[in-house]
């Protein structure tokens, strides 16, 4: 048990160190501003201290029987000016820490987004867009309250309290110490409270997770739940989770209730020690009554800021968590491609030599060799999970090979800049993204500065023109969720038109031949035929009949090229291919 706690503490220490490590790294470039913010905060503290000294003098004068109103007015004005200065510094301090923090968050966002352009696309896509939104948009903002407030306020509150305490000690150190008498009681109360945390906190985490999971299941699966007539049962489960989610917190609070509130009442009760001790010292003549009154006034200003300061410590670790999530993305490996290409490919032969690739610590390609001739039709086939898509994605430079090389026109693709390389490849998948822009702009993306005529010409070739013209706003229709409701097939055709405009010599169709919209299958097929005319084509197709005429079919199985050749050759020589073909034909026969 003891040992377990020790380990936990050690782990926590490491975590904290890294939290501050992250913070340190994160604040790079704005540390000067933060320093400024701290200095301003300290100036604010100094003004506050001075105002209390003025106040003390005023009180002494009053008790000594000073009768000149002008003196008090003067002091009053002084105190007023000091307070104003104090808040001027305070505001400037928080303002500068905020502007620094907002700037940092903005920079972090930019860095993260830029990173998405340089790391392997496959790695980018291993997180969902929802996750990116969560990290880049939502959670990034949560850094602000802590980072912007902690530095100036933590310093101001702690240093302020300590400075006041020291000032009190210079007046009378005995009373200064006596006022702290209730602090141990407060600490004991808080430590009892903290001690029960490990007992209840995990339960609340567990119940909250269970509740969130129940919510996701119930709401996400509501269709299935209703369809199976189980809304009552599932609803009951959710209700139970929701109630437990609340009860665990209420229970925890009930257990800690006394200690928390007792502690909160003890900490600021400086008068408990100050008043009696002050009275006693006055009685034995070692303390001036005027000093006692001054001490009373000063004491009111000492403890409250300390409590405020401790409220922030919890948040710091949360911020560390957020920043380390960002760092996870920023630490991803970049594609190793030069800024400027070192060589120009001659033709578009593609060759893969001994290509290995590991995904999530598991090698999925074990040495792929392939030769693809310029202007030929090539198909990658194989059982699901065989690695055929990975091969296509490596050729498209969505991933980076671990070892081995891919050459295009004799040039290692790692000697070409990504920008240059992308010009050679059109990668068409089932789901190509359409931006929340007009149709014409979406197609135009294929070729920088393409004229309207060129766009319309591409659209016509891809069988888009007619349906686009039938839309209310024609080519000016917005594609995104806010605009015209385009069907899956229509969206697919627009993206094919975009790829056609790009006119890249190598076309990769990654399962682009399975359709989300069977009704427009025929039109999509003819669009694809036009797109691929005269290109070096690499296609992954589920329907083997589609690629029966390919110049070369590569059969990929468990990360190896098992066989390569024409349809006839493979049928004759490879039992796996024959098997796949037969089951395909069995399904198709009735149709054709």
């Amino acid at each position: 048990m003891e040992k377990g706690n020790g380990n936990e503490a050690a782990a926590q220490a490491v975590l904290n160190r890294s939290t501050f490590g992250w913070l340190w790294k994160f604040t790079e470039g704005k540390r000067g501003t933060y320093l400024m913010s701290v200095i301003l905060a300290l100036l604010g503290v100094a003004c506050m201290l001075l105002s209390y000294i003025c106040l003390a003098e005023l009180i002494r004068q009053l008790i000594a029987g000073g009768h000149e109103m002008s003196f008090y007015l003067q002091r009053g004005v002084q105190i007023g000016i000091l307070w104003i200065l104090r808040y001027v510094f305070h505001s400037l301090s928080t303002y500068s820490s905020h502007s620094a923090t907002f700037g940092l968050i903005g920079n972090a966002r930019k860095k993260l987004l830029k990173k998405l352009g340089t790391m392997p696309l496959g790695a980018v896509q291993s997180r969902s867009s929802g996750e990116y939104k969560n990290i880049i948009c939502d959670r990034a903002d949560h850094v602000e309250p802590t980072l912007a407030h902690v530095l100036p306020e933590f310093t101001a509150n702690i240093i302020g309290a300590v400075a006041m305490f020291i000032y009190m000690m210079t007046i009378d150190c005995r009373v200064g110490l006596w006022q702290l008498i209730c602090i141990p009681a407060g600490f004991i109360a808080f430590s009892v409270m903290m001690a029960s945390t490990p007992k209840y906190y995990p339960d609340t985490i567990k119940k909250t997770k269970a509740l969130n999971a129940a919510a996701v299941e119930y709401i996400g699966g509501i269709e299935v739940i209703k369809a199976f007539g189980q809304s009552r049962t599932s609803y009951g489960k959710f209700v139970k989770a929701a109630k437990e989610g609340a009860e665990c917190f209420i229970n925890w609070m009930q257990k800690e209730n006394f200690w928390q509130n007792f502690g909160m009442a003890c900490f600021p009760a400086t008068m408990l020690g100050l008043l009696p001790s002050g009275v006693m010292y006055c009685l034995n003549g070692t303390l001036e009554p005027a000093d006692l009154i001054v001490l009373i006034i000063l004491s009111f200003g000492t403890v409250t800021p300390l409590i405020t300061a401790f409220g922030y410590t919890d948040d710091i670790s949360k911020v560390g968590e957020i920043i380390s999530d960002m760092a996870d993305i920023l630490d991803e490996k970049d594609m190793k491609r030069p800024e400027k290409s070192r060589a120009v490919p001659r033709g578009h032969d593609i060759s893969l030599k001994d290509v290995h690739f590991t995904y999530k610590d598991k090698e999925v390609l074990h040495g792929i060799d392939m030769e693809i001739k310029d202007g030929t039709v090539n198909a990658l086939v194989g059982p699901s999970g065989s690695g055929k898509s990975t091969v296509a994605r490596l050729i498209a430079s969505l991933w980076e090979v671990d070892s081995g090389e891919i050459r295009i026109g004799g040039v290692n693709i790692r000697d070409m800049s990504l920008k240059e390389y992308n010009r050679h490849i059109a990668y068409v998948s089932q789901e190509n993204y359409l931006f929340d822009q007009t149709i014409i702009d979406n197609i135009r993306m294929g070729k920088d500065g393409a004229t309207d005529e060129e766009v319309i010409c591409a659209a016509k070739k891809c069988g888009c023109h007619d349906f686009i013209m039938s839309l209310e706003n024609g080519y000016q229709t917005i594609c995104g969720g806010s605009g015209g409701h385009l069907s899956g097939g229509e969206r697919q055709r627009i993206s094919i038109a975009r790829a056609m405009l790009k006119d890249a010599p190598i076309v990769i169709l990654d399962e682009a031949t399975s359709y989300t919209d069977p009704e427009s299958e025929a039109v999509i097929q003819s669009a694809l035929s036009r797109l691929t005319e005269g290109k070096t084509l690499i296609v992954i197709a589920h329907r083997l009949s589609t690629i029966a005429d390919a110049d070369k079919i590569f059969l990929i199985n468990s990360g190896w090229v098992e066989a390569a050749g024409t349809q006839q050759e493979l049928l004759a020589s490879n039992p796996l291919y024959r098997n796949m073909w037969e089951s395909h034909i069995a399904v198709r026969k009735e149709e054709a």
């Binding site: 867009s129 299941e217 709401i219 209730n257 509130n261 200003g301 010009r423 929340d436 589609t546 390919a550």
Partner: protein, 582 residues
């Protein structure tokens, strides 16, 4: 601010609202018990100035503080529990209300995006509700009420100073309201800049493949940087407005304290106030507005409360239908549709459709996408309620059945398969709760799932979803068919599209569908020629109407959509890529 508070309290249940009010009420007492240090100080100071300082004052003052600690602890224990209960219970009840509401929302109305939003309300929004929102409302209302009570009670001691305090308080509150309003405009601009930044970033992230593919970096579409900069600017601007406002509010309370102090001294010098009172006034003048200062600090959060409240009401806004019919068992499985109209978003989708599907026959719906065939099949199972006309199951209107008793008769196979993050066994068993393992395996075998399940590390106990098995599209489809087989409902509604399924899987999928539909009433959105040909009835749907109806051979003899459809399908099935002749 009052509007925000109203929204907050409207959101709470009756009981929780009372608990919150009680907690605010007791909070005022708490402030008074905390202020007991003032009488304790008074005892000492009075003795100092009026003579007679003795040990007695030491004991009395210590006693008062001690009692104050006890009372504060006692009262805050009570208020803490009231708040905790009210806060957590409110969010728990709201979650339940959302879940309850969903039961009544027409199924057709639900989509991924909407459900995602609702999930986020039920989780994140409710979490910040029980945390930040509740605390913010309580601190603000307690602060205002406490200060008001202090200021009013000051009138009994010293009316002249009390007036200054009252004026300060009024200016403070007016100023706060003013600040919230002033922020309002900028805050709208701020929200707009935030929304546009989020939209830009999402576009960039979702379209990252295209951005790279077509080298769109730095183009206007992907200009995320300027939207980030704009957001940074507006955030900083909002913060500076807030800082300026807080600066004036802070200065206001502090300067007012100084004015009260100087006034007391003037009264003392003028002889109308005793020294004891004057010193006490000086001490108090800086404490009167302690609670008020907290009000200012929490003001920045009122917008969060309003956001929470708005999101929750939005989640509860979707239309509902009455699902609490009678527990009925249909007399037959014949479905009859009589003159049905249905509109969505003011657009007529189904336009005066009538037909009948007798028990144990197969009906195929074909037609162009967007023609309304999906909606018709959804109406049969009451994913929506019709606008006009009637849909009968076994001669009884589907609206007369309770929803659960209606659903007992249907099993669905959708294109989008939702599997729960649970074991495979439990996912299949969902079709028939309480089924034995043998029954589950039997259904899995019928749906051609058994073999691939046995190859998984934990077989039927393999978890699906995050950290669990990654199933292919075809495998997920088959599990959902096993689930439907398990349910053994007499009517099957099936969307046949087999997108993204490889050949081995497609064959198995067909076999699975075959075992599911044996001896059943089958309603399908059909794409495969064979299934269409074998259907007892074929309905061709276009523009919300039945444009053709009959058997395959009948329809092939007619000029029309169907014949075109069939020939196009045949052509598509024979399509080959890269045949250079084409």
């Amino acid at each position: 601010m009052l509007r925000t508070f109203k929204k907050f309290f409207d959101l709470c249940g009756e009981k929780e609202r009372k608990q919150f009010f009680m907690s605010i009420f007791l909070g005022v007492f708490h402030a008074f018990f905390a202020a007991m240090r003032i009488p304790a100080v008074y005892v000492v100071i009075k003795a100092i100035f009026e003579g007679g300082l003795s040990e007695k004052q030491a004991y009395v003052s210590a006693g008062i503080i001690f009692v104050s600690i006890i009372l504060q602890t006692a009262v805050s224990m009570k208020t803490t529990m009231l708040q905790t209960r009210a806060g957590f219970n409110t969010s728990s009840f709201k979650r339940i209300e959302i879940a309850e509401h969903l039961r009544y929302v027409p199924m057709g109305y639900l989509n991924d995006e909407g459900l995602g939003k609702i999930t986020s309300v039920a989780t994140n929004t409710m979490e910040s509700f029980s945390g930040i929102a509740a605390r913010c409302v309580l601190v603000i209302s307690k602060g205002i009420i406490t200060t008001l009570v202090i200021v009013l009670s000051m009138f009994f001691f010293e009316a002249r100073i009390a007036i200054v305090a009252l004026i300060t308080m009024v200016i403070y509150l007016v100023g706060t309201e003013f600040m919230i309003r002033a922020e309002g405009e900028d805050s709208d601009a701020f929200t707009t800049s935030q929304d546009s930044m989020v939209a830009r970033i999402l576009e960039y992230v979702r379209g990252i493949a295209e951005v790279r593919n077509f080298d769109l970096f730095g183009k206007s579409i992907t200009d995320v940087d300027s939207s980030i900069d704009r957001f940074t600017r507006y955030s900083t601007r909002m913060e500076s407005i807030y800082e300026v406002a807080m600066f004036f509010l802070n200065i206001l309370t502090k300067l007012s304290g100084i004015v009260m102090m100087i006034m007391s001294i003037a009264f003392y010098l003028g002889g109308s106030m005793s020294l004891v009172y004057t010193v006490m006034m000086i001490i108090c003048s800086f404490m009167i507005f302690e609670s008020l200062d907290q009000v200012g600090a929490f003001n920045g959060l009122t917008r969060t409360i309003e956001n929470c409240a708005d999101k929750v009401s939005e989640a509860l806004m979707s239309p509902t239908m009455d699902i609490d019919g009678k527990e009925l068992v249909p007399e037959s499985m014949t479905l009859t549709v009589k003159n049905v109209d249905f509109s969505y978003d003011k657009r007529k989708i189904i336009d005066g459709v009538s037909f009948e599907i007798p028990e144990r026959t197969t009906a195929a719906f074909v037609g162009p996408s967007g023609g309304g065939k999906t909606t018709i099949t959804q109406l049969l199972a009451r994913f929506w309620d019709v606008d006009n006309g009637r849909i009968l199951l076994g001669g009884t209107d589907v609206r007369e059945y309770s929803y659960d008793s209606l659903m007992k008769n249907f099993a669905f196979v959708f294109q989008n398969v939702y599997l729960f993050s649970d074991t495979i066994e439990n996912n299949i068993r969902f079709g028939k709760p309480g089924a034995s393992r043998e029954e589950v395996i039997k259904a899995a075998k019928a749906a051609c799932c058994h073999d691939f399940i046995m190859e998984l590390p934990d077989g039927y106990d393999t978890m699906i979803g995050e950290g669990g098995a990654n199933l292919s599209g075809g495998e997920r489809q088959r599990i959902s068919i096993a689930r439907a087989i398990m349910k053994d409902a007499p009517i099957i509604i099936l969307d046949e599209a087999t997108a993204n399924v490889d050949p081995e899987n497609e064959k198995l999928l067909m076999k699975a569908v075959e075992s599911l539909t044996k001896e059943k009433t089958v309603i399908m959105i059909a794409h495969r020629l064979q299934t269409v040909e074998n259907a007892d009835q074929i309905f061709v749907i276009d523009h919300g109407k039945i444009v053709q109806h009959g058997s395959h051979s009948e329809l092939m003899n007619e000029e029309g959509i169907y014949r075109r459809f069939i020939s196009e399908r045949k052509e598509a099935a024979g399509w080959k890529l890269g045949s250079r002749s084409a």
